[in-house]
């Protein structure tokens, strides 16, 4: 199986850049979440895996989280510029999973998306030749990782849309008005134009329901991805969850046309 190298490389660059930016943006809060956490960590789940993913709440010495933050920033920046290496991505995934679990109350769906994608990125090729010439068994694990990352993005949209269909306010067109008048989100003025709020409500629902279908064909993929860019930037800025929106957007390149073409915004226009 020949994997689309450019898609993979743009995914790797995007995810690593996101990691660096997210951790950089966390530094003003370091005193509260990394150095002397105000919120105690949740108990680690049962099983040996928790030793790997919940080190800061089990065996790692107090204060080691901030060291992990700086180490991960250095590794992430390195992988933006230089080819990814599976062992470096493995270390990055361990560090990031631990940090997300440690600062659990400050984490968002974006953290969870990146943690999952990062895990499967360990198995992706680090060089173009490896993407084109892989043989058994490497071809199987590289291909599985590639498709799991692709489906992970679709799962996020599909699950949230299906969940909304089981409620009442999204179907009634009232959900966006409720969110807009919540002091944590906004903008409150949206609720004063009920027709607009209802249109946004159904547009969001429709976008999330159809994204997992639309990305399979080039003509619709381009439009849905641009809608996704708009959706994530607007909700990210107005709701104060820009890191979550950007987490979704840096995974988009894995769904580029035939996996070969889309990597940059310029190429997205041409696709």
């Amino acid at each position: 199986m020949i994997l689309p190298w450019r898609s993979i490389r743009w995914l790797q660059r995007g995810v690593h850049l996101w990691l660096f930016g997210y951790l950089l943006s966390s530094l003003p809060a370091a005193e509260w979440i990394w150095l002397h956490p105000a919120v105690p960590p949740l108990p680690a789940p049962p099983g040996p895996a928790s030793l790997l993913t919940h080190a800061f709440s089990t065996w790692a010495p107090p204060g080691s989280a901030i060291i992990a933050v700086f180490a991960l920033m250095v590794l992430a920046l390195r992988s933006v510029v230089l080819p990814s290496r599976w062992y470096i991505t493995l270390v990055e995934w361990i560090l990031f999973s631990n940090l997300v679990n440690f600062a659990w109350l400050a984490s968002s769906g974006g953290n969870q998306l990146i943690a999952n994608v990062l895990f499967w990125m360990i198995l992706l090729p680090g060089r173009e030749e490896a993407a084109r010439m892989a043989t058994w068994p490497k071809a199987v694990w590289q291909g599985a990782a590639f498709w799991i990352i692709r489906f992970q993005l679709l799962v996020a949209y599909a699950v949230t849309a299906l969940d909304k269909l089981t409620g009442t306010h999204w179907l009634a067109g009232d959900a966006v008005g409720i969110v807009a008048t919540d002091t944590s989100y906004g903008p409150a003025w949206l609720a004063s134009v009920p027709l607009l709020a209802a249109m946004v409500n159904y547009a969001v629902l429709l976008f999330q329901l159809t994204f997992p279908v639309a990305v399979w064909w080039a003509p619709t993929r381009r439009w849905w991805m641009w809608m996704g860019v708009l959706f994530h930037l607007v909700t990210g800025i107005t709701f104060g969850i820009l890191d979550m929106g950007l987490a979704f957007l840096v995974v988009y390149p894995i769904w580029s046309r035939q996996g070969e073409r889309i990597g940059t915004a310029t190429e997205l226009v041409r696709a």
Partner: protein, 159 residues
């Protein structure tokens, strides 16, 4: 291994992973009991994820915790000048405090630690700190801007 076998193996791995992730993340009513049980063992330790922001419905109440000041006034437990990752904790923390208060009127120890930790800038006095939960709730979903305000006292927490 033949190309066909390799492809079959790849499809099996992806399908199995996807099925278990869906069983973990989809609304509980849509997932068969046994699949849900397996997904907890497989997904929870390494692939935990939740995609239910504003789903199935956005919360009709917005809540925030407040702390009593020595001069008798109240301020937000997490003021607006805190870094964004600290501010982000305000809402889920208030929701958990609300759920605990509704369940049995007391707070789990880790929640007590959390609200005390977030009020640590008030210094180390000897008096117990006072906390309260402010709720603004939608009464009519067609007019979400009109909200009723309720105040729930939070049990005193010793420092």
């Amino acid at each position: 291994m033949s190309s066909r076998s390799a492809r079959a193996l790849l499809v099996s791995i992806v399908t199995l992973h996807l099925a278990l992730v869906l069983a973990y993340t989809l609304p509980r009513a849509l997932v068969p009991g046994r699949m849900f049980h397996w997904s907890q063992h497989y997904v929870r330790p390494l692939f935990h994820q939740r995609w239910n922001m504003f789903a199935p419905d956005p919360s009709t109440c917005d809540r925030r915790l407040e702390v009593g000041m020595p001069d008798g006034t109240w301020r937000a437990l997490i003021p607006a000048d805190r870094p964004y990752l600290v501010r982000r904790m305000a809402r889920p923390l208030a929701q958990r405090v609300h759920d605990d208060l509704l369940a049995d009127g007391s707070l789990e120890p880790f929640l007590q630690q959390a609200i005390l930790g977030l009020a640590r800038d008030l210094g180390r006095g000897t008096e117990p700190l006072r906390f309260r939960l402010m709720e603004r709730c939608v009464m009519d979903a067609k007019h979400p801007g009109h909200r009723t305000v309720d105040v729930l006292p939070v049990p005193p927490t010793a420092r």
